[in-house]
């Protein structure tokens, strides 16, 4: 299935939850926040969010800012 991660399409094998996506992106344990289809997901809930074809995931991290 196809999932959009930070605006870029990417193919994954189903079934899949949000934790699986982050693991494949090598971001587990990183200082990040994640939104799934526009909803911000608490860290403890990643395994509860099941990913479907066409879903959009945004992953952000701290960056320089004024």
């Amino acid at each position: 299935m196809n999932v959009t991660i930070n605006g870029q399409p990417k193919a994954f094998d189903a079934p899949l939850n949000l934790y699986d996506v982050l693991a494949q992106e090598e971001l587990i344990g990183m200082m990040i926040a994640v939104a799934h289809n526009g909803n911000v997901i608490p860290k403890g809930d990643y395994t509860q969010i099941f990913i479907e074809d066409g879903d959009a995931i945004e992953i952000v991290a701290p960056m320089q800012g004024g």
Partner: protein, 261 residues
């Protein structure tokens, strides 16, 4: 005299709020924070990838022990800003958010209508909103009516280094909101600008470009820290009222008359 500032239950040890963007190197950023000991530092959020650029940046900051104020820089709508604020809360485990919604790309002037809309929604969600705003009195009244404890009017457009475009409006805000935490955010160029803000009785100054783009960021950060401390001490000490006429400072009583005939 105390230079600390309380925001909610947090006591900040300095009234310099320092941005973390645009430094010539990570070392320059770290040294600037170390030489100036800011009360807080501002950070942003950007998309992360396997490269982990955000993790490298965070590794610089996390050991310094300075409170973090996340921002919504680059947002042009309330919805964008609210999602960014929620993601910032998730990452930094703070309900503080510098709310920045840009309304004009040339001046980077904040959008007052979007600001009010987003402020209401974020306060309802439990955020302590630090609104980046123009120096408009009515906007300030509406933001405080929504529950803002802090107001952050601009001195001049972001990164312009112009200083205080409208000291009258800034002083009016101070006079009208004596119990709110007021911070001039943006437009500062020189330490004298920051000192002038503090001499008006403002609670803090937020700046970034004036340090990051200076010839020696670490030294400039130190200069700003000193100017802000000096301005605060001067304000607390009671600055004299300007007069139209001269008034001799040296007493004339018992002055010897050398040329008496």
């Amino acid at each position: 005299m105390s230079q600390s500032l309380s925001i909610g239950d947090t006591i900040l040890q300095s009234r310099l709020f320092l941005g973390t963007a645009g430094y010539p190197s990570p070392d320059a950023l770290r040294q600037s924070i170390e030489t100036s000991n800011p009360g807080l530092i501002t950070v942003s959020l950007r998309r992360e990838s396997k490269a982990g650029k955000g993790q490298d940046f965070w590794n610089i900051l996390k050991g310094l022990g300075v409170p973090v104020l996340p921002n919504t820089a680059g947002c042009h709508s309330p919805d964008e800003a609210i999602t960014t604020a929620e993601m910032a809360r998730e990452i930094f485990e703070t309900n503080w958010i510098k709310l920045e919604i840009i309304g004009d790309d040339y001046t980077l002037q904040p959008d007052p209508y979007g600001l009010l809309d987003a402020t209401q929604k974020l306060i309802d969600k439990g955020f302590e909103v630090f609104p980046y705003m123009t120096d408009d009195l009515v906007l300030a009244e509406k933001l405080t009516a929504l529950g803002c404890n802090i107001l952050m009017p601009w001195g001049a457009p972001i990164g312009s280094g112009r200083g205080l475009n409208n000291p009258y409006a800034l002083k009016l805000l101070r006079d009208r909101f004596p119990d709110k935490t007021l911070v001039v955010d943006a437009g500062i160029g020189a330490p004298s600008h920051a000192a002038a803000v503090m001499e008006m009785g403002y609670d803090a100054v937020l700046l970034n470009t004036a340090v990051a783009k200076s010839g020696d960021p670490a030294a400039m950060a130190s200069a700003f820290a000193k100017s802000i401390a000096a301005g605060r001490e001067a304000y607390l000490s009671g600055i004299i009222t300007p007069q139209e006429s001269a008034s001799a400072s040296t007493p004339l009583i018992d002055k010897p008359i050398w040329h008496q005939k």
